[in-house]
């Protein structure tokens, strides 16, 4: 039998039928739902008189619009409130499993899914959110979809898909101290570009990837979409199984043994053919800081803002010039000279317990710089928040002048009140530095949790390795 990639195995296990041109009807095991991309899909179901095909395959949770301050009074913004109310009504009408705002387990859908065991190895996982790529860390084929496909998945438990190409990204060796999963993935995007993964799924492999915890693997796969790939994948190993075992929705007893027997096969076979292979030397990867308005605009922390004049490609040069103007930066400025106004530690990329521990370790016993107006720590879920509080991390952040908030997407995209003012510069652990992403006129620099915390203390970017 021909050697298969992990992607081949996951794909083959989910094909219901195929059209003549290779378009497949792909079975969807898990559909995660949030309030922003679902209302029109539920409305479509209602208009057509349809009901969910497999009710229990779905799990809904509000995350984008939710306030991160005191929730006792509910959501103040009437338009945000209406969207969360619409989700409340829709899950009730269609009897979809739901974790409401007031539930301890509520949080960012991509943190909650794995935490609850709703994400399992070997699954197909979809959600109306591009960061669904996160779940690929479990050896699951997971990708973001639009609202029409949310409706399609609800109504049929399937999606029409064409198979992508497969790219292997192998990170060899061991990363140096202070270099995290976030730095690895930013370095990858910096090399292959934000369109480098278009038309591909990315399998991340190599010693440095397999050495990561599940939290770190989720950070890497989360940003596959920032490299243009709909899905990231990592093979199943003991780290995966240890994380999954005992989760509320994980298989139990004899089903666990049966599941593990299959899950153990979820890796690319020796000799499997990839459409493209890219290799990295982990030892060369340094802490990364983005300088522009696309995640590919990234340099090591000891680097400088690049000079568009050195870029031969006219379209790229124009993009760099626009980015520098938007970011209010001059070519040649050392990254370490860039002062910040705010810090955001959170998002589906970096709001898990390990991320908060890394940030707290930097902050412990120190104080937020005077020029930093706000340093926000937003746990990824109520359970992450609870765990962090049990470990005393909240006290460390608060003592340093950082704010400790309720879980949600928060300032990653500012659909709630957590936004940057025009021109404000933020060290952010989120995933997108697009124009206006964190608020109209906002200036975002993407970094790891430890780097964001260090910037909050120093008031500018610092090399975490020098502390």
């Amino acid at each position: 039998m021909a050697a298969k990639t992990l992607y081949d195995k996951l794909w083959d296990a989910h094909v219901v039928r195929s059209e003549a041109d290779g378009t497949a009807l792909l079975y969807i095991d898990r559909h995660l739902v949030h309030e922003v991309t679902s209302p029109q899909a539920f409305e479509g179901l209602r208009e057509a008189g349809r009901t969910p095909w497999k009710r229990l395959a779905n799990l809904a949770v509000p995350d984008h619009n939710v306030p991160t301050t005191d929730r006792a009074a509910g959501i103040a913004d009437p338009i945000s409130r209406e969207q969360v109310d619409a989700l409340d009504r829709n899950v009730k009408h269609f009897d979809v499993p739901y974790i409401p705002l007031a539930d301890l387990r509520q949080g960012i859908v991509h943190v909650v899914g794995p935490e609850q065991g709703a994400t399992l190895p070997g699954m197909t996982v979809v959600c109306g959110d591009s960061h669904t790529a996160t779940h690929g860390a479990f050896g699951a084929l997971a990708f973001g979809i639009g609202t029409s496909e949310v409706e399609h998945a609800l109504a049929t438990q399937c999606l029409l898909q064409k198979k992508s190409k497969a790219m292997l990204i192998r990170v060899n060796g061991v990363v140096g101290p202070g270099v995290t999963a976030k730095d690895i993935v930013l370095a990858i995007i910096g090399r292959i570009g934000t369109a480098g993964g278009n038309g591909y799924i990315l399998e991340f492999a190599g010693e440095a990837i397999m050495a990561l915890s599940m939290e770190g693997r989720m950070t890497v796969c989360n940003m596959a979409i920032e490299a243009g790939a709909r899905a990231g994948l990592i093979a199943v190993d003991d780290t995966t199984l240890n994380y999954v075992k005992g989760r509320p929705l994980a298989p139990r007893a004899e089903h666990w043994e049966q599941a593990v027997a299959w899950w153990r096969t979820l890796h690319s076979d020796a000799g499997a053919q990839f459409d493209r292979v890219v290799e990295f030397d982990a030892a060369e990867i340094q802490p990364q800081v983005t300088w522009g308005t696309s995640p590919e605009m990234v340099v090591p922390v000891d680097g400088r803002v690049p000079d568009p004049g050195q870029e031969p490609d006219a379209v790229k040069r124009g993009g760099m010039e626009k980015a520098l103007a938007y970011m209010g930066l001059k070519a040649g400025t050392p990254i370490a000279d860039i002062a910040i106004d705010k810090v955001f530690i959170g998002s589906c990329t970096n709001a898990r317990i390990e991320d908060l521990r890394a940030a707290a370790a930097v902050v412990r016993g120190k104080s937020k710089a005077a020029n930093v107006r706000l340093a926000l720590v937003v746990p990824g879920s109520g359970l992450v928040k609870q765990q962090a509080e049990q470990e005393g991390l909240d006290a460390i952040f608060k003592a340093a002048g950082f704010e400790w908030r309720e879980p949600g997407c928060s300032m990653c995209l500012g659909m709630n009140e957590d936004r940057l003012a025009p021109g404000e510069r933020c060290a952010s652990t989120s995933n997108r530095n697009f124009e206006g992403r964190q608020g109209a006129g906002s200036r975002t620099h993407l970094v790891s949790p430890a780097m964001a915390a260090a910037a909050g203390i120093a008031g500018r970017f610092v090399d975490i390795r020098s502390l």
Partner: protein
């Protein structure tokens, strides 16, 4: 879904690479629970000089006369011309709804982000990938004549303008759905029996998913 057959229209030249869906339709408009009305917020941050949200009437806002969408020469364009990696970032289908609501039925660029590309086909919008040099030629042709008519013929898989033309690729299945304006959910439900057979088999190999 509205069928797409042949479209002839002037083109709107948006000379940028990596146009992300946050730029196409910013977050504050994603709070709407409806599918229509997004056209007035298309490219909101570039199009208006002042900030807006769902509660601000657009008539009260100041348009940015520098932005190409506000150039009277390009009014009524149904074809959007852009550079590499159009539609990257967030999966928000609101981006396609905004384009379509504004009247854009076809986007021509050297490459597209996958989710956006997919979302287009669900909404009667045709994304056409052409080689960068061909897209550059189109930009130049539109610059020379802003009212230049561009014809996009899906059945023939061809873009035509002046005396030039270019062929484009499209999946046969998607092409057929778009030409006929088919409802994909209805199509899939025609295979309900196949889905049930699959589920019965899978319940044996992965019973933990079917308890």
């Amino acid at each position: 879904m509205e069928a797409f057959t042949v479209l002839t229209s002037p083109a709107l030249p948006l000379d940028r690479a990596n146009v992300d869906t946050d730029a196409i339709i910013p977050k504050q408009y994603l709070k709407s629970i409806y599918k229509s009305g997004f056209g007035q917020y298309l490219f909101d941050d570039w199009r208006y000089l002042d900030a807006g949200d769902l509660s601000v009437p657009v008539a009260s806002r100041r348009p940015n006369s520098e932005f190409v969408l506000n150039n009277p020469l390009h009014q009524g364009a149904k074809v959007l011309l852009a550079r590499e990696n159009f539609g990257c970032g967030s999966s928000r289908e609101h981006a396609v709804w905004a384009l379509s609501d504004h009247g854009i039925r076809c986007v021509i660029a050297p490459s597209f982000a996958d989710i956006f590309f997919n979302n287009c086909f669900k909404n009667g919008v045709l994304p056409v990938a052409l080689p960068a040099a061909t897209v550059e030629a189109l930009f130049q042709a539109v610059q020379a004549d802003p009212r230049l008519e561009v014809t996009v013929d899906l059945a023939a898989q061809q873009v035509r303008w002046s005396k030039a033309d270019a062929a484009f690729a499209v999946d046969p299945f998607r092409k057929d759905c778009l030409l006929r304006g088919l409802d994909e959910i209805g199509l899939t439900l025609e295979h309900a029996d196949a889905i049930k057979v699959y589920e019965a088999q899978r319940a044996k190999t992965a019973p933990w998913l079917f308890t």
